[in-house]
């Protein structure tokens, strides 16, 4: 079976970059998912505020997004299908960025709802801060996609 602590890890310095990235992303998105699922009504209002989806899809997305975040977080922590989970996360963040850009383009005043009532670190209506924040998170998850699972992972280092 795969040893969780791969002896090759020490000779792969990028692996030690990936581990903190995995853990930070996992913690952040597990928290974000928990907050959204704790009171779906508020996140539904945020999803609706984008005025992109029809009503029944708004309700579906209100639950699908946090559950996807939760599974991605679990995969990142365990180092299971790590790259794939990071790729899903990158895709999710890309969707958010497009949504935010759309809102800004239409000049709308929308609250993020990403962390429920906690606004970290960008406060107030969606704006450049949120796009930058998501850009940084996308970069972090892309690094995990590129450099692989790293140490303390169920995946082998070469695993996709």
């Amino acid at each position: 079976m795969n040893a969780p602590n791969n002896p090759n890890a020490k000779s792969r310095p990028m692996g030690w970059l990936v581990l903190p990235l995995r853990l930070i992303l996992a913690a952040l998105f597990a928290f974000a998912a928990y907050v959204k699922l704790n009171d779906p009504r508020l996140f539904a209002q945020s999803v609706e505020a984008f005025k992109i989806l029809p009503e029944h899809l708004v309700v579906t997305m209100t639950f699908v997004i946090p559950w996807t975040e939760m599974f991605v977080a679990a995969c990142l922590v365990l180092g299971l299908w790590t790259r794939a989970a990071a790729l899903v996360l990158t895709g999710l963040l890309a969707v958010f960025v497009v949504g935010i850009a759309s809102v800004l383009y239409r000049g709308m005043d929308v609250k993020c709802g990403c962390f429920g009532k906690y606004e970290i670190p960008c406060t107030g209506a969606l704006g450049a801060c949120h796009i930058i924040r998501n850009g940084v998170l996308m970069l972090m998850s892309l690094l995990v996609v590129i450099f692989g699972p790293g140490p303390l992972a169920i995946d082998r280092p070469s695993s996709k």
Binding site: V64, I65, G116
Partner: protein
């Protein structure tokens, strides 16, 4: 690469399936399901309103009634069945003023900075976030479950009032109305405003 894509699809599919399952379960079983449109309100009765004023949404004007003296009531005309359900919930600035004079509580649904910069005199600060996680906000003890409560935000395309209205209805307070034209129009009409921090339910 193909394996990476396949696994990504599987992870996304698991999220999709779990989300859809939770959504169905939640909407069917929760006492407070996700609602995006408000319930129909009880008929609006504005004490002391002596003449029809402001823009009456949808429905027809009252047929020639002009009650005199304080203490009489003029029921709002019932909107026709084809009217936008939101119309029954909207109140004009003039109707809001009448409700204000009759002592109806006002709710400011905007963020704290906007509230502190200026709000309807005596308005409670109660944005949707105050209801997070099923919390019953402190301000609710000042409301009656059936009497009118006027909710406002910034006017225009602002959805915040509607969101607070839905949460209020789910908490058992059915009298919510939306001052559709928003705070800027209240100010323009020259009605009472004040500034400063919320007295009840400080952030």
């Amino acid at each position: 690469m193909a394996q990476l894509i396949q696994r990504s699809i599987v992870i996304a599919a698991i999220g999709l399936a779990a989300g859809m399952a939770h959504s169905a379960w939640h909407q069917l079983t929760s006492a407070t399901p996700v609602r995006l449109t408000p319930e129909a309100p009880p008929p609006l009765v504005i004490p002391g309103l002596t003449s029809p004023s402001g823009t009456t949404p949808a429905g027809t004007s009252p047929a020639g009634t002009s009650p005199t003296g304080p203490g009489t009531t003029t029921p709002q005309p019932t909107p026709t069945a084809s009217a936008d359900p939101m119309d029954a919930l909207n109140v004009s600035i003039a109707q809001s003023k009448a409700l204000f004079d009759a002592g109806a509580p006002f709710i400011d649904a905007r963020n704290i900075e906007e509230y502190e910069a200026g709000h309807v005199a005596g308005a409670f600060w109660l944005p949707a976030e105050r209801f997070a996680g099923g919390t019953i906000p402190e301000a609710l003890q000042y409301f009656d479950t059936q009497n009118p409560i006027v909710i406002y935000c910034g006017g225009g395309a602002c959805d915040a009032s509607k969101n607070v209205l839905i949460l209020l209805q789910q908490a058992g307070y059915k009298g919510g109305r939306i001052m559709h034209d928003g705070y800027p129009e209240w100010v323009k009409a020259g009605h009472a405003i004040e500034t400063g921090k919320p007295v009840v339910g400080a952030p």
